[in-house]
């Protein structure tokens, strides 16, 4: 009995994990195709129709490459770092609902769990830089870590406002509270703050300082090659997709949509709606990369601590004040 239920649980996890990894693979081809279109190039178009199968060709190339480990490296941490990055960005999916009740765990503290997991993910970056025993990797990882833990505060404050609006840490409850109106309408400034810090949290342009190619070779994964580089690569794109999904869930109603027609087929439209919303934000991530130049590092930190954080704290004070002043706290018991 217990073995059967364990197998069932494993199957559940696989059913979530395999499509996530496929989505991550296609995220890389989205990035390359959209960038190409915005720079008026063709982009990859040889493997599969319109180059759709390019990510698998890339993966194959990277897997068969030789893995070079620096002689002075701390080998255990050198291998552990990419694993931490990938595993913790995949663990974040455990509490994401893909439809009403379609979640691995309907954890009452789901959103806190997501925050905790994303803050542990920083260790992958930190270990990678330190264990490689290379100055470029080390500087890259210090930059990246400082950036990630600074913007985590802003991200947490933005999420806190959504929690104040719903009175729950449970992601399903947060989504169901948006049936009347998506939170992006009353909380537009919070959404902007959240998305900017999400860009910084995933180390994307204009905040991709850790991999500033012109100064630091490739940032914290300079010394990683072959298979362990694939882990970093997957982890990075996985956290992009996760952040897009979280944006869709927290501000765009998750799997909610206006009921235009009655769906009595076996196809679950809710998951498709969530997927479409996620794709929108994945596209936004790439759009920002194509549009904005990279910031300077001191500018990035000053922007966080003197620009974003005061705004976020002001919003944390303002939103509950409005709720109390107009006596519209939505969850008084």
């Amino acid at each position: 009995m217990t073995i059967l239920s364990t197998l069932y649980n494993l199957l559940e996890v696989l059913i979530v994990l395999v499509p996530i990894l496929l989505a991550v693979a296609f995220m890389t081809i989205i990035e390359r195709k959209v960038l190409a279109a915005m720079q008026r190039r063709v982009g990859p178009n040889k493997v599969g129709y319109y180059g759709v199968l390019q990510p698998f060709a890339d993966a194959l190339k990277l897997v068969v490459k030789e893995t070079v480990v620096p002689a002075q490296a701390t080998v255990s941490l050198f291998y552990l770092a990419p694993v931490i990055t990938l595993v913790f960005s995949l663990l974040g999916w455990a509490v994401i609902p893909f439809g009403a009740g379609l979640t691995i765990s309907d954890f009452p503290l789901g959103i806190l769990y997501t925050l905790a997991i994303s803050s542990i993910g920083v260790y992958g970056v930190l270990f990678a830089g330190w264990s490689a025993n290379s100055k470029y990797a080390f500087l890259g990882s210090l930059r990246s870590t400082a950036q990630m833990i600074s913007y985590e505060l802003v991200l947490g404050s933005a999420i806190l406002i959504v929690i104040i609006m719903t009175g729950s840490f449970n992601i399903t409850t947060i989504i169901e509270n948006q049936e009347a109106i998506w939170f992006v309408v009353p909380l537009l400034p919070v959404f902007i703050v959240f998305f900017i810090s999400a860009l910084a949290e995933t180390n994307r342009t204009p905040f991709d300082l850790p991999e500033a190619e012109s100064e630091l070779v490739a940032g914290f994964f300079t010394e990683h090659s072959g298979m362990i580089f694939v882990f970093f690569f997957l982890g990075e794109y996985c956290s992009i997709v996760l952040m897009s999904t979280l944006t869709a869930i927290l501000f765009f109603g998750g799997y909610n949509m206006p009921e235009l027609f009655i769906n009595d087929t076996f196809v679950n439209l809710q998951s498709i709606v969530l997927g479409l919303k996620t794709c929108l934000f994945c596209f936004l991530f790439v759009w920002f990369r194509a549009t904005l130049p990279r910031m300077r590092y001191d500018g990035l930190m000053v922007f966080c601590w003197t620009g974003m954080l005061p705004i976020a704290i002001a919003l944390v004070v303002l939103v509950p004040s409005i709720l109390v002043a107009f006596d519209i706290i939505p969850y008084q018991n």
Binding site: T2, L77, F107, P108, L109, L112, Y113, L115, A116, S119, I120, V122, Y123, L126, W130, F138, L142, T145, A146, I149, E152, S168, F169, N333
Partner: protein, 202 residues
């Protein structure tokens, strides 16, 4: 199954705690410190104290340990130096034992009195002031403090209470004094280093 897991986690926490002070490389010892935190968080989660377990992960693992690691990684200390200093300190082990025992005895003899009796008086004061501000009758005794404000106690309400709500109920009513005390200590801890580091401009 869960009890075995609890044992494993407890053992892991203690083992990593020992390894923190025995490993020579400071970075490795911070790694074991992180392992202690993660094990403790897992232990709390399995016990069903989910909120405190996850706060452990967010506060200690996600912020404090990262700052530790950050500083330790940037310090360039030679390991032999640390080991020699460590040898010097090992000589003082009996002294440490004596001081530790005395400290433990003091804590044990002071704490129970502090939590039962001394906490009541200021709590009554806070209840009185809150009653004046909110216009609530506080003629109830101190122990019924949150009956006066919410009407439902965290532990005898029939509506489902989330863990955080229960903690909040306890913290903002019975624990008011301790909460204020802790916040003042934290404020001092924040302002203190700034005041110490600040050099007046010539």
């Amino acid at each position: 199954m869960n009890t075995i897991l609890l044992d494993v986690l407890a053992f892991g926490a203690v083992l990593s705690g020992v390894l923190v002070i025995t490993s020579a490389n400071p970075v490795i010892s911070v790694l074991f410190l992180i392992s202690v935190f993660v094990n403790a968080a897992g232990y709390l989660l399995l016990l069903g104290v989910g909120f405190i377990g996850i706060s452990y992960l967010i506060v200690y693992v996600g912020a404090i340990a990262i700052l530790f690691l950050f500083v330790v990684m940037m310090l360039n200390i030679s390991i032999t130096e640390i080991v020699s200093v460590g040898r010097e300190y090992t000589k003082n082990l009996p002294l440490g034992f004596v001081v530790g025992t005395v400290f433990f005895f003091e804590i044990l003899s002071v704490i129970p009195a502090a939590t039962t009796e001394a906490g009541e008086l200021p709590l009554g004061l806070f209840t009185y002031i809150n009653g004046l501000l909110l216009g609530v009758d506080t003629s109830l005794t101190n122990s019924d403090v949150h009956m006066a404000f919410t009407g439902v106690g965290a532990d005898n309400g029939f509506s489902p209470y989330l863990q955080i709500e229960t903690i909040g109920q306890g913290l903002y009513t019975y624990g008011t004094v301790w909460l204020l005390l802790a916040s003042i200590i934290l404020l001092l801890a924040m302002v203190g280093p700034i005041a110490l580091c600040l050099r007046p401009r010539a």
